[in-house]
């Protein structure tokens, strides 16, 4: 097992990984940028090193600096978390070169899966269903037109080096093709330094369902069932659950088998996720493979009892999987709500700043992963994820009610958060019925709603009591200090107070 593990990340996921290491009795090394000196991951790790400025390129993406800290501190393994360097094949290769274990798959697997057309080709060859389209980047507009006619509009143009929704365009008809193609190419070029694009059939209102996999270095692999991640805003997940209401045992088995085919086709090792789009007829298509830990891994942990981060460390250390597919059982349901520093009433505009007060939920069935504390700053420089609220229940309704109860207990003031919006989703009748797809938030949720009159009155009553107490205290202060009650003095005082208004 490793002597010491460096966590090349920040926020809640750095803390998640530190906890797993502590439970394995392995000391941890945190790295931090200048504004992160007061972040909780620094305090939770056994050691911590400053690695640079706020800008990620100068700190959390600074490969040289991170390798330097790893060597200086005697670290023999690095966990990259998610985001930052987690899917950077160059970083994985550098670790391999320096003799430090990268806790994740090998650099060449990361590279293959990072290129979307290469990944499509590999999956197609392995027999994993993919959407109709091309497995090569396309040069000429004519060729795109021909392919589009073949598979039928709407189609999706995507950047080959893509990710995060950039360099993507939906094309509904032949008329739009030219301008969309130009726009996608230009965006792909400026975002990834590579303007090549490819074409896929566009699926309308699909579900986003993914399969978690674990594979060791000896060819053993298992899947840990699915996660439904269709509730998205800005193409980013905000609520996830398992099991999916769209997946029955038969579909689960088919998708699981397809995911394991994907794993075997590239000799994948460590934890990974195969993402699929699923249509109304329960056809599923490979979307991409995430060669890292996912934000939403926790819901899978809760229902399978498998600590995925612990498994990642064990696998990277060369241990064999002690799991076999038939021994993995799902126990109940789990749901995750992501609490972001965003204003849901204002198009999810980020709302960084200082958390003035914080009350977090607890009790039965609640898992709470966070980097936040009362008085902490949610930095403008990084992802605005404050916490993950994960709930377990015997069935979906128990889980949903528990989530609602927990969200009601949860209070953050000082900044705007997604909490009120999440409650709306959890109470939504389509959500209750499991009738969801990636367009759910746009189509099913009324954005703004008038605050309830009853709640407003509670607020007014509290403010009035406070005003009254303050006025009383001030008059008490005056009486105590001016027992003579000179009119002149009291008038003077009032004038002074008056200036504050």
């Amino acid at each position: 097992m490793f002597k010491k593990i460096l966590i090349a990340n920040r926020g809640e996921i750095a803390i998640r990984i530190i906890r797993a290491c502590q439970e394995l009795d392995i000391p941890t090394v945190a790295v931090f940028s200048e504004p992160d000196r007061n972040s909780l991951h620094v305090g939770y790790a056994e050691e911590a090193y400053l690695i640079g400025e706020a800008n990620s390129k100068k700190s959390y993406l600074n490969i040289d600096k991170i390798i330097d800290v790893a060597q200086k501190s005697g670290t023999d393994a690095i966990h990259p978390g998610y985001g930052f360097l987690s899917e950077n094949s160059g970083f994985a290769a550098r670790c391999e070169k320096e003799g430090i274990t990268f806790i994740g798959p090998s650099s060449d697997v990361i590279e293959k899966m990072g290129n979307k057309t290469t990944a499509r080709k590999i999956m197609a060859e392995a027999g994993v269903p993919i959407l109709p389209g091309t497995n090569e980047s396309i040069e000429s507009d004519d060729e795109v037109y021909k392919i589009a006619k073949g598979i039928g509009f709407p189609i999706m143009i995507k950047a080959a080096a893509g990710g995060g929704g950039k360099g993507m365009r939906i094309v509904n008809s032949a008329d739009e093709l030219k301008s969309c193609l130009r726009a996608a190419r230009s965006e792909a070029g400026s975002s990834f330094g590579d303007s090549s694009v490819y074409v896929e059939k566009y699926l309308e209102n699909p579900r986003h369902i993914e399969i978690q996999v674990l594979a060791d270095k000896y060819g053993n692999s298992v899947h840990l069932f699915e996660r439904e991640c269709s509730i998205q805003r800005r193409h980013q997940k905000i609520i996830e659950e398992t099991p999916s209401t769209a997946v029955d045992d038969k579909l689960r088995e088919k998708m699981g088998k397809a995911a394991l085919k994907a794993v075997k086709s590239v000799n994948y090792s460590n934890a990974g996720t195969v993402e699929f789009l699923v249509d109304k007829k329960k056809n599923f298509y490979f979307l991409e493979m995430n060669t890292r830990l996912q934000v939403e891994h926790a819901i899978t942990e809760i229902v399978t009892g498998i600590d995925i981060v612990r498994e990642q460390v064990r696998i990277a250390a060369g241990e064999k999987l002690d799991l076999t597919q038939d021994k993995i059982k799902r126990n109940g349901c789990a749901m995750e709500c992501r609490i972001y520093a965003e204003d849901p009433d204002n198009n999810f505009l980020p709302s960084p700043g200082t958390i003035r007060t914080l009350r977090s939920p607890g009790g039965y069935g609640i898992r709470y992963d966070t980097c936040a504390f009362e008085g902490c700053n949610i930095s403008v420089h990084y992802d605005p994820l404050i916490s993950k609220l994960v709930v377990w229940g015997k069935d979906r309704e128990e889980t949903r009610f528990r989530m609602l109860r927990a969200l009601n207990e949860y209070s953050i003031t000082g900044i705007k958060t997604t909490i009120p919006f999440l409650k709306k989703v959890i109470k939504n009748k389509f959500f209750i019925e499991g009738d969801i797809d990636t367009n759910f938030i746009a189509s099913r949720i009324e954005r703004s709603s008038a605050p309830s009159d009853g709640t407003l009155k509670i607020a007014i009553l509290t403010a009035v009591v406070e005003s009254f107490k303050k006025a009383e205290k001030e008059s008490l202060f005056h009486n105590q200090h001016h027992p003579e009650k000179s009119q002149w003095k009291i008038a003077g005082k009032w004038q002074m107070w008056g200036n504050r208004f």
Partner: protein
């Protein structure tokens, strides 16, 4: 004691008096018995009749930010003296809208120019922050009086960007 309360563009006439440990409060004639106690910094346990609520309240002078059940309210509580002063200030500020950036970031694009007429909800300026582009919108009708920043500029949270009158 009497207060004028302003919340969400509405005004409420409020009376309050002590009754034992509680208060009797009427809002526009409707009566409530209220017992509010501070649990910790800015957190109150409030009993209205026998109904229980946890309320976060932050005060700055007469202005309160109150959070209840994940809803947030800006409330102004004015006594007689404060009412007169508020009247004065209001008449000066009327009709003026200041677009401020809620967070530090970079000005990506300015969508209006000085002298433009704007409608409520119209996009005014795009600010990049937290790796995302955010469009700030006008909340009222008016004419762009002043554009304080330039495209490409870096701004701090709370900086004034555009003034509309």
């Amino acid at each position: 004691m009497n207060f004028d309360v302003i919340a969400g563009n509405k005004e409420y006439s409020v009376e309050i008096e002590r009754r034992g440990k509680s208060f009797i409060i009427t809002i526009d004639g409707e009566e409530f018995e209220v017992d509010a106690t501070l649990l910790k910094k800015e957190l109150y346990s409030v009993l209205i009749g026998s109904k229980s609520h946890l309320v976060n309240l932050k005060s700055e002078g007469n202005n309160f930010t109150v959070d209840v059940n994940s809803e947030s309210f800006e409330i102004e509580v004015l006594d007689e003296a404060a009412k007169r002063l508020a009247q004065k200030t209001k008449s000066q500020a009327e009709g003026k809208q200041v677009i401020k950036t809620p967070m530090p970031g970079k000005i990506v694009k300015i969508l209006v120019k000085e002298g433009d007429e704007v409608e409520p909800g119209m996009g005014m300026i795009i600010v990049e922050a937290m790796k995302m582009e955010n469009e700030l919108k006008s909340s009222s009708k008016g004419v762009v009086k002043e554009i304080v920043v330039e495209e490409g500029a870096t701004v701090n949270g709370g900086d004034t960007l555009i003034v509309v009158e």
